[in-house]
């Protein structure tokens, strides 16, 4: 048990080292995580599907190759045998893919996403599929049709969203690594509120082929982990050009692991975005953010202030572009080729009515809201004022970034304005929910990369705070360089990783009280779980 505990708390980099040195086997590592999932996921509900047999088979294959030695063993990827969880928005052969929606319940993809093919090529055992807000629409996972995920720091609270499942799985030591998708902050904001690391790469840096699209011009797959180096390692597995994605960058992948190992920020200019802190940000968030700035300054970075005046339009423009693209992307879910089909209860049985009934029954409220909003923004007579204007705001935001990056190598802000709020707290107030993404959305609008790492615990509630770093497009390496330095400075201060301070999910007293509270909240939110 002690050994298992050590395995599940190890970083991916550490596990990779132990596997290469044959100190542990991939089956042991994978089994340890499967055991952990069995022990805690009843409370956390990070997983929608656990892929036990396949994960162990892949692990066994890695062990066999290592045991046999020779060229095949030499050629094994550094992360071979290191298990990973995959957000259930990404299609996988052999496991269901639901997108957190009833409309895809039980659906199995006949093809693998490009990133999944790359995980398979690296022989990383896939532990299972993680929970998310339906079609990645949300900031709390409460919009999952299969019930919410609970924040491992406080099971009464949201784990962020949409990728709350991936972040919680990593925070709860159910997986060392996970894949997320980030359209407006769905990797970074869950990272912030769960005390984990999440990276949204430059748009086009990681193939979107096989990620069920919400907003095509904003979506990006990225790594979720507990350390900056681990994200760099995973980013290098999944990144790089893919001919199946027309928006995939042709650039060769940078050495991100090397960037994460540079170890200094001396002489770098780090820009504080005036508009992304202060008013509207929780005091504890602001305090931890300022401490990070101090640490970077002490390490030799130059802190400058930059202004991005058009960021104030970013949220509004995002809530026009994202639903517009989503309304079109989600049109294919109609009960004809795959997924749910629901027949109308009365009246004529035409295909049009079957589509209407299927989509009425298969989509949750938030998805419907966004589809209707997007249909509105694209409709005749409104296009120019809504979608057209929002695309112009994108230009303004890009110009703000250009000006800011003329003054600074990387930009810095809190990842989210608050720490994790209580499950149910904002569920009936869509606008309040949307505000969680105010600091993360500009990066998606401009296509620039962003990284969130733990910045400490807020004084008032003891919950994790996230610090966001932003770099110019195609300069993801800078995020890893600065992120790794800040992480080591902070951990030196804390005396270890922030997650050491997270409650043990196997201590009975804590779980009893919180699971009672959360099951009440969960019952109100979910339409029944898949577990």
């Amino acid at each position: 048990m002690t050994e298992n505990n050590e395995l599940i708390r190890s970083s991916a980099a550490t596990l990779a080292g132990k596997l290469a040195a044959r100190e542990v086997t991939a089956v042991e590592v994978t089994q340890a995580h499967l055991d952990r999932i069995a022990a805690v996921d009843g409370k956390v509900h990070a997983f929608l599907h656990v892929n036990t047999d396949e994960a162990l088979a892949v692990a066994a294959e890695v062990d066999a190759i290592r045991a046999a030695g020779g060229a095949a063993a030499e050629e094994l990827h550094a992360l071979a045998g290191v298990p990973i969880a995959v957000k259930d928005l990404i299609v996988t052969v052999g496991q269901p893919t639901t997108a957190g929606s009833k409309i895809l319940e039980g659906w199995h993809s006949p093809y693998d996403a490009t990133v999944v093919q790359r995980l398979r090529a690296a022989k990383m055992p896939i532990l299972g599929k993680t929970n998310l807000d339906e079609f990645a629409m949300g900031s709390s996972t409460e919009h999952s049709a299969y019930g919410p995920t609970h924040n491992p720091w406080d099971l009464d609270r949201i784990p962020g969203g949409s990728g709350g499942g991936s972040a919680a799985a990593v925070a709860a030591f159910e997986a060392p690594l996970a894949l997320g998708t980030d359209t407006g902050g769905s990797i970074r904001q869950p990272g912030a509120v769960t005390g984990t690391v999440g990276v949204k790469p430059t748009y086009g840096g990681v193939s979107r082929y096989g990620a069920i699209a919400m907003a095509s011009s904003l979506d990006q797959i990225g790594p979720v982990s507990r350390t900056v180096l681990d994200s760099a390692l995973l980013h290098q597995v999944i990144g790089g050009h893919d001919p199946f994605d027309s928006t995939s960058l042709p650039d060769p992948l940078e050495d991100l692991v090397a960037a994460a190992s540079i170890g200094n920020v001396r002489g770098m200019k780090i820009g504080i975005i005036k508009e992304l802190h202060g008013e509207g940000y929780q005091a504890g968030v602001e305090n931890r953010f300022n401490e990070s700035l101090e640490l970077l300054k002490e390490a030799g970075a130059e802190i400058v202030e930059v202004s991005c005046p058009n960021f104030k339009y970013a949220l509004g423009a995002y809530y026009l572009i994202m639903p517009s693209e989503a309304s079109s992307n989600l049109a294919k879910f109609d009960g004809v080729r795959f997924g749910l089909r629901v027949l109308p209860e009365d009246g004529p049985m035409t295909i049009e009515r079957v589509m209407g009934a299927t989509r009425a029954a298969g989509f949750g409220d938030e998805v419907k809201r966004r589809i209707i909003l997007g249909t509105y923004a694209l409709s005749a007579g409104y296009y120019d004022a809504y979608y057209g204007s929002a695309q112009k705001v994108r230009t303004l935001i890009q110009r703000d970034f250009d000006a800011a990056f003329a003054k600074a190598d990387v930009l810095i802000s809190p990842t989210a304005p608050t720490t994790a709020f209580k499950l149910g707290e904002k569920l009936n107030d869509p606008l309040a929910m949307y505000l969680n993404d105010v600091a993360t959305i500009p990066a998606n609008m401009a296509g620039v990369p962003g990284l969130s790492l733990p910045g400490g615990l807020a004084d008032e509630d003891g919950l994790p705070v996230g610090v966001q770093l932003l770099a110019p497009a195609r300069q993801d390496a800078r995020l890893y360089r600065v992120g790794a330095v800040l992480e080591s400075l902070l951990e030196a201060q804390w005396g270890g990783p922030l997650l050491d301070k997270a409650p043990s999910l196997t201590a009975p007293s804590l779980n009893d009280s919180s699971s009672a509270a959360t099951s009440a909240a969960g019952a109100a939110l979910s339409h029944g779980g898949s577990h």
Partner: protein, 98 residues
């Protein structure tokens, strides 16, 4: 910009092929009115001289060579279909004529 009302939502729901109850239309109209109001400022943010950005990272001429790749068998194609008949997807009548 005009406010969004219940009739608008009913029309949009028809366009989007989502059946909605009267109660749902009322609720949705209320929620959307708030959201639309909050995004209004966007239309005033940028002047006519600002070009639209549709892709965050500009690329052009991304092509595929005209070479045949993988295909599905009919069985694979239909594997997730709610209804199928003789190798094809089966759907209810298109016109309402009985």
């Amino acid at each position: 910009m005009a406010a969004i009302n219940r009739d608008d939502v009913a029309h949009l729901a028809r366009l989007a092929h989502i059946e909605m109850s009267a109660e749902e239309l009322d609720r949705m109209a209320g929620e959307l009115a708030v959201i639309v109001d909050s995004v209004k400022s966007v239309s005033e943010a940028a002047g006519d001289d600002v070009p639209a950005t549709s892709h965050p990272i500009p690329l052009t001429n991304v092509f595929r060579e005209d070479v045949v790749g993988h295909t599905f068998t009919a069985e694979q194609a239909l594997s997730g279909a709610p209804d199928a008949y003789e190798g094809r997807f089966k759907v209810p009548a298109i016109l309402d004529e009985g």
